[in-house]
Assembly symmetry: C2
Homo-oligomer: 569 residues x 2
């Protein structure tokens, strides 16, 4: 008897399981069941379909060789049966059947299985407020919804939009609506920063500044109270304001779809995720689950974490396919790799951000470096902004985050660290990470190596730093505190600041410090300033040696200040 | 008494040692000695200065904050003394002095040292043939030479050029002369492929094809016999032809400058490299060496290897600086990361190429994948070509090489593998490597993961492959051998081939194989063809199941064939 496998869910994980299994065990009978009419589409591409980067929804359903992945495709190319518009109502584990119902005809059937795969994915969260069910409120959770949004936008029916939620989907949708279509878009986030948990408040502030430069109104720390339809004029009411709108995108996260599993008596986590072992078996060894409906071991914390991602679903689907065919493959865990394009700024991350590391109980600090993404003399070089999160006592790398206008170049650095996270690297591993070098692609001392070096210098107490937000506070309080900003850049860079703030801003280029030591302010706290934090670090060492201080080095220098959006001259 | 350190050599390694040491031990007295008048320049930028991407030579001498790194800079910014145009003639280890001579005045001095650092770098190889000393023959080994080449080119004195050597510098110089200046350039390489040792013959062939598309004449397996000056008309004579030229670039590799060390009685390798331990101490513990004058442990082979690179010199310089200040830092070894831009094609590598792996005694095979570098539906997606070199018995990753028009995207994949090489990864680690995913940057199943998967399928005997060069041979011999090329792409893709080669080319789209099994040629060797090797792999599994064969799957499919330059329709 050949193996009979039923897969519930036909986006990302499900199709991958089916394809891999059939390649290893061509005799296996495989049936995929999905509620939706459209299956096996690239859900992560939805914002780019709405933005217009992708013209037709079918493009998201195509393989890389441009065949639409429909029932016919799966039958012919994969020898896999697909039942669309079909809901899995219940699993009878004793009888080994799935009770399914055709959503259109109401017809029900019991599908027998030898092995069952739960690829039920996630469901979008919806705020528990009045108005969430209005027909102009979307969660962007499936392709049919995306098609409807695009019809509205392309039909000229959306002049204003409100995006609720400042996570990845919220930011992508903000760009999608605003950049090409010119929709006047506001973004409301209940927490006090964008991308909470993913990046530090400082990087989040830089992203917010970039959105502001692109005419996006961002409202942080605001709670949406209701959404109203007043005779075809919609509005979003927060605890602080009322925003008129023609479209609401509710992107407030997703939660695992674990109900079917729970009702079948399988172990489910407090957050509703199906509990699986490293081979993706649930508490019933004949039932597997993976993708957006399970939690995964985090390689840094060693704890289970919910991290839905289409790429993860694909890789896990392959492992499940292998194991269904008799394999014993295990999944290590996740590094939490993340990348996002929002207008001309890209954000990427792996591992833990500083706030999350501290919330997990690590005694963590972060190094922040601003440097060119390739040789500083090579045309097309752009500044990159990287933050490395480090455990203070051990130098262990806990995470990395970055911003850059050149996303592929940013991915290079983030992915290299993501790749080694499972090996518990330390700052020395980052200092010596061997990126391929040629001037068009990297610097002889690449920003990633410089980042490791900076972290090491901070750990050693040689580089004593303040962050850009602390700088902003100190600058604000300069009259009361009496600190002095010692600008060690060239005279021309410093001049506008010394002219405007003669009592608090002093210019001595780093290479003249030895000769001009008499000019260094005495008995003052010195905040050392350059464009990147590098020359000011050199200055700090020299000033230590000469006996001046206390000194603090502004991490990332004026490059960080500018990106942060503080305009003081 | 403060530490007195003398550093011989003031490019890359030397300045880094000096800077790091002074930051850790500001009291140290540091003197750098260099033969040249120009120091601390970015030598790797020379091709881009010659090409015109960089306008002035001083740009290569600048820091990232645009200060020229001259003697004055080192004195002011680093408190480091520099003696230029000064040759280190001999080291007296007993007396702990370096005997130096001013090249301009002839004056000699003995510099005492507590610790000595040999940053003597490399010297360009010169062929032992008549004419190498002609004034139109350059090795591009220092900035003064580069300035002279650019004067000639920009002065309109170079209509034709010959580059001898198809390694990285040779290829960079070929583009530099040809692309902007329009110099008619020929490249002569003694071995039978470009980038010998770095990439496989197949990738090298693809690079050669790209050069041909850019009107570069490439002559492989040719030995230059002499260079002649016939009254101001120069020519390069090989064993096969005579090439008229106005300029000769001799880029036939470099060798470590270990003479000074050898004469001082220090251990030197057979290749002339200074022998150092993991802390970069020579056989005299008071003398350190690093950068281009030493060999390094290769992380894959475990053997010492010569791998000169500016990035390596910078990272090693920092370690030496740390150790001079009392540290005990060690260097792991090198992954051999490499990247190169030549016209619109970028080449990158880490670890061993297939020929080199085999030469090192590994039972190695390679997987070759052609896939988009981001989601196939995202605008700007380009095909990437990756080759993974694997030890057959263990699945251990020995190396990776790749080609792409988008260099940063290529670096992302190569660097991620370079980063893990020291942990002895296997194909499963590559299959599950967690690259940050969003459609603008990667595919849900990224090409790197697909590459690991393909390697695993080959190891498992599921995917039985031929390379594009074998395909070319089989295609050539199709009449004698009687094999059939079974094209499993869509009808439209296959049609031109079936029309032109009706007896040898058969079209059955992969998704129609089950229904059209009667049309599959019987008792023939079937060469399975698609655009990338993915659908043809699926076809291979199906044909195995149906009992057809033997079958061979063309790795990389017609994508590889096209890139390789074989034009059969």
């Amino acid at each position: 008897m050949s193996l009979n496998v039923v897969i519930i869910g036909a986006v990302a994980l499900g199709p991958k399981v089916a394809s891999r299994l059939k390649r290893l065990a061509p005799q296996a009978k495989v049936t995929m069941v999905d509620r939706d009419s459209l299956i096996a589409y690239g859900g992560c591409g939805i914002p780019y379909f709405i933005s217009g980067d992708i013209s037709e929804p079918d493009i998201l359903r195509e393989t890389s060789f441009y065949m639409v992945r429909d029932k016919k495709f799966f039958r012919g190319a994969k020898d896999v049966e697909v039942m669309t518009r079909t809901e899995a109502v219940a699993v009878d584990r004793a009888a080994k059947t799935v009770h399914v119902r055709n959503i259109e005809t109401g017809e029900t059937t019991d599908l027998p299985y030898d092995r069952l795969v739960l690829a039920t994915g996630s469901r979008p969260n919806r705020l528990n407020i009045p108005g969430v069910d209005l027909d102009r409120v979307f969660t962007v959770s499936n392709l049919n919804e995306a098609i409807r949004i695009k019809e509205l936008v392309a039909g000229g029916q959306v002049g204003q939009a409100v995006v609720i939620g400042g996570g990845a989907i919220g930011l992508e949708m903000t760009e999608a609506l605003s950049d090409l279509w010119g929709v006047e878009t506001a973004l409301v986030e209940v927490q006090d920063q964008l991308l909470p948990g993913v990046v530090s408040p400082i990087m989040a502030h830089m992203i917010r500044h970039h959105l502001a430069e692109n005419d996006i109104a961002v409202y942080l720390s605001e709670t949406v109270q209701r959404i109203e339809d007043q005779d075809g004029a919609w509005q979003v009411v927060t605890d602080k304001r009322t925003l008129k709108t023609d479209l609401v995108v509710m992107a407030v996260g997703v939660r695992p779809s674990g109900n079917l599993a729970k009702e079948a008596g399988l172990d489910v986590s407090p957050s509703g995720a199906v509990v699986v072992n490293a081979r993706f078996q649930t508490s019933d060894p004949d039932i597997y689950a993976g993708g957006d409906c399970v939690e995964n071991l985090h390689l840094v914390t060693g704890k289970r974490v919910y991290f839905p991602a289409g790429s993860l679903a694909n890789r896990q689907g392959r492992i499940i396919g292998t194991n269904l065919a008799g394999g014993t493959e295990e999944f290590d865990g996740i590094a939490g790799s993340f990348i996002l394009k929002a207008f001309e700024l890209n954000t990427a991350a792996a591992g833990l951000s500083l706030p999350r590391a501290r919330a997990e109980g690590f005694d963590a600090f972060s190094a922040f470096v601003v440097q060119g993404d390739r040789a500083h003399f090579y045309p097309g070089m752009e500044l990159m902004y990287l933050e490395l999160v480090v455990e203070r006592s051990t130098g262990r790398i806990l995470g990395i985050q970055g911003l850059s206008g050149q996303g592929d170049a940013l991915a290079t650095r983030i992915d290299a660290v993501a790749a080694i996270l499972k090996y518990r690297p330390t700052v020395k591993d980052v200092s010596n990470l061997e990126l391929a070098y040629a001037p068009p692609f990297s610097a002889a001392m690449d920003i990633l190596n410089a980042l490791g070096n900076t972290a090491e210098n901070i750990m050693a107490g040689k580089n004593r730093v303040i962050e850009v937000d602390e700088f902003a506070e100190k600058f604000e309080r300069r009259a009361e505190d009496g600190c002095v900003f010692l600008d060690v850049r060239g005279q021309a860079n410093a001049e506008p600041f010394t002219a405007k703030y003669p009592e608090h801003w002093v210019s001595i280029p780093q290479d003249e410090l030895l000769d001009r030591r008499d000019e260094v302010p005495q008995n003052k706290e010195l905040i050392l300033i350059c464009n990147s934090g590098v020359r000011s670090y050199e200055a700090q060492v020299m000033l230590d040696e000469m006996g001046f201080g206390p000194t603090l080095n502004l991490q990332g220098g004026m490059g960080a200040v500018k990106k942060w959006g503080l305009d003081i001259v």
